[in-house]
């Protein structure tokens, strides 16, 4: 499996990264080089092997549904690029 330049542009967009046209060729080559490493995975026999998502095979710990967080919105908004009226501001989405 090797990626085309068009696929690389699509993946970049999927990850919300932009690639200049001048970089596409090199990025495609680099990603294909990395994916080349993965080719051997297909050859490994994993029939009957369950996937391992957690190193200790533990499940999510649950806790009582109690309030644990205090209101720190001011501290969190102080470090934001742009805020107004207690909101994080972004360019207008709906006119």
């Amino acid at each position: 499996m090797s990626l085309s330049e068009q696929q690389v542009k699509e993946i970049a967009y999927l990850a919300r990264l932009s690639i200049d046209d001048g970089e596409v060729e090199q990025t495609t080559a680099e990603l294909n080089n990395i994916l080349g490493l993965m080719a051997d995975l297909a050859k490994i026999d994993t029939q009957g092997v369950s996937p391992m998502a957690h190193p200790l095979n533990m499940s999510q710990r649950l806790r009582e549904d109690e309030v644990s967080e205090t209101d720190q919105s001011e501290a969190f908004q102080k470090i934001a690029p742009q805020t107004g009226q207690s909101h994080f501001l972004v360019p207008t989405v709906i006119e």
Binding site: A15, S18, T46, M52, A53, L56, R61, A80
Partner: protein, 481 residues
């Protein structure tokens, strides 16, 4: 001379009033400010001196703990209230953390003194510290060589005696490999042993924090503070923390050591191999027995890790979008432009590559072939260890196939990924591992890797301490220190 002392020695010196924490802190700050290693992203002079004064007060009042007043370098991946926490990335360059990581909180509660935030590969992705937005760190043993990564600033700071110890994180070798390349001691604990809360996430099922120190005894002292359950980290494990210093003095007679034959095959530098074998002989002389074992799936750790970690990072790093904190591009014309340009301008090339590999491996149509397949192979790798630990107590081998390489010598990602061959598998399994100084090859330090079963940090530290009682590799210092 204070900078040459270990944490344990400094602790005694402070208690016996041979020097104050302020004197100690000023001494290290002046060493940092004169250093050209680029080991720090931020030096927190004022904060350090405030903490040192508070520590001196506690010492004077007789309220001091063992680590009160000891300075340290904090990897810039741990959130620290009011101090820039960049994780070595432009995208977090403007980020002043509004809260403390649990590790930061624990070190503060132990009255320790933070000298500054240590340099690192961007968002912990790299094995050479050349991928930092703040420039590469130099290896104190040879300034033309890399210190390793991603905790390269931490390792260089300890090896260059700019700090008595440093914190690090290890997702695929990022504590052990720089410790090895810089000739110091580093431990990556069992997954879930140290809280990940406030530790900027790279790959959440692999990340784990630990100390980088001169000696195993120091690592044990610091582990006593860093380890422990935290309800703020949903993967933290609620399990009692032993006193890691308690069994350091135990004899290791009868210890069963396994040498995985796959760790000594093609690709291992012969000078490194000889150094490792000489260290293993030393353990034999202390009464340990050595047998060959096999970890048949260990070569698969590279493709498995480089699928699992990028998948997790592509998901984790979606939070860095220029909206709530961190870098935002100039004059975004709409929301999409804000996302695209903030991320493209904020992330470096290696981070972008890993995000894209992850986004691809998780995308519809490729998920089964890549991510799901990698998770199954991860299970096989973990089973290899399970089998091995039925016969042996500790697995030993090299940390890195070579000693520190020249700055700029790796031009492509893949050849650098291949150098992670001996460290990745235990992160995939969640096991603890250490690197301890084992000797030199071509005048550069070689680290011996010790891999233990789950929760066997005590045994690893004990074995490392016994080795350090018989050898003086850990006491060697770069010239000019």
């Amino acid at each position: 001379m204070m900078h040459k002392l270990t944490v344990a020695e400094l602790s005694k010196g402070l208690k016996n009033k041979e020097f104050s924490s302020v004197e100690l802190t000023e001494h290290f700050l002046s060493r940092i400010n004169q250093s050209d290693l680029n080991a720090f992203i931020t030096v927190t002079d004022d904060l350090a001196l405030d903490q040192a004064r508070a520590a001196d007060e506690k010492i004077a009042n007789g309220n001091a703990g063992i680590l009160t007043g000891i300075p340290y370098a904090h990897k810039d991946i741990f959130c620290t209230t009011g101090v820039k926490t960049s994780a070595g990335s432009k995208i977090l360059d403007p980020f002043i953390s509004p809260y403390d990581a649990t590790v930061s909180h624990k070190l503060n509660s132990a009255d320790m003194v933070m000298l500054g935030k240590a340099n690192m590969d961007e968002l912990a992705m790299g094995s050479s510290n050349e991928k930092s937005y703040y420039g590469p760190v130099k290896n104190p043993w040879n300034k033309n060589k890399v210190p390793g990564g991603s905790s390269g600033g931490s390792a260089a700071a300890v090896a260059g005696r700019l700090s008595p110890f440093a914190t690090g994180t290890d997702t695929g070798g990022s504590i052990r490999q720089p410790a090895s390349l810089c000739g110091i001691t580093g431990i990556k604990p069992t997954y879930g042993r140290v809280s990940r809360y406030g530790m900027i996430a790279y790959a959440s099922s692999l990340d784990q924090a630990g100390p980088l120190t001169q000696t195993a005894e120091d690592a044990a002292l610091v582990m006593n503070v860093m380890a422990g359950f935290d309800d703020k980290d949903s993967t933290s494990v609620d399990r009692a923390v032993p006193d890691y210093t308690k069994n350091l003095g135990n004899s290791i007679e009868g210890l069963k050591i396994g040498l995985p034959k796959e760790f000594f095959s093609e690709g291992l530098d012969s000078g490194v191999a000889e150094t490792i074998m000489a260290a293993v002989k030393e353990f034999e002389a202390m009464g340990a027995s050595v047998q060959e074992i096999s970890l048949p799936n260990s070569a698969h750790a590279i493709p498995t890790y480089y699928i699992v970690a990028p998948c997790e990072c592509s998901s984790n790093l979606s939070r860095l979008d220029g909206v709530r904190y961190g870098y935002r591009c100039e004059d975004p014309k709409d929301l999409e432009d804000l996302y695209l340009r903030s991320r493209s301008e904020g992330f470096g090339a290696e981070v972008k590559r890993r995000i894209m590999i992850g986004a691809y491996a998780l995308s519809a149509g490729y998920y089964d072939a890549y991510y799901l397949k990698a998770q199954k192979v991860r299970h096989l790798i973990s089973e290899d260890f399970k089998k091995a630990f039925q016969d042996v107590d500790v697995i030993m081998g090299p940390v890195s196939p070579t000693t520190a390489f020249d700055l700029g010598s790796f031009t492509d990602s893949v050849s650098m990924y291949l150098a992670d061959i001996y460290t990745l598998s235990l992160n995939l399994a969640g096991l603890p591992g250490m690197s301890i100084p084992a000797g030199f090859s071509n005048n550069m330090p070689v680290g011996l890797q010790l891999i233990g079963n789950y929760w066997s940090e005590e045994l690893l530290l004990n074995a490392a301490h016994q080795f350090q009682a018989q050898t003086d590799w850990h006491a060697q210092m770069p010239e000019g220190v």
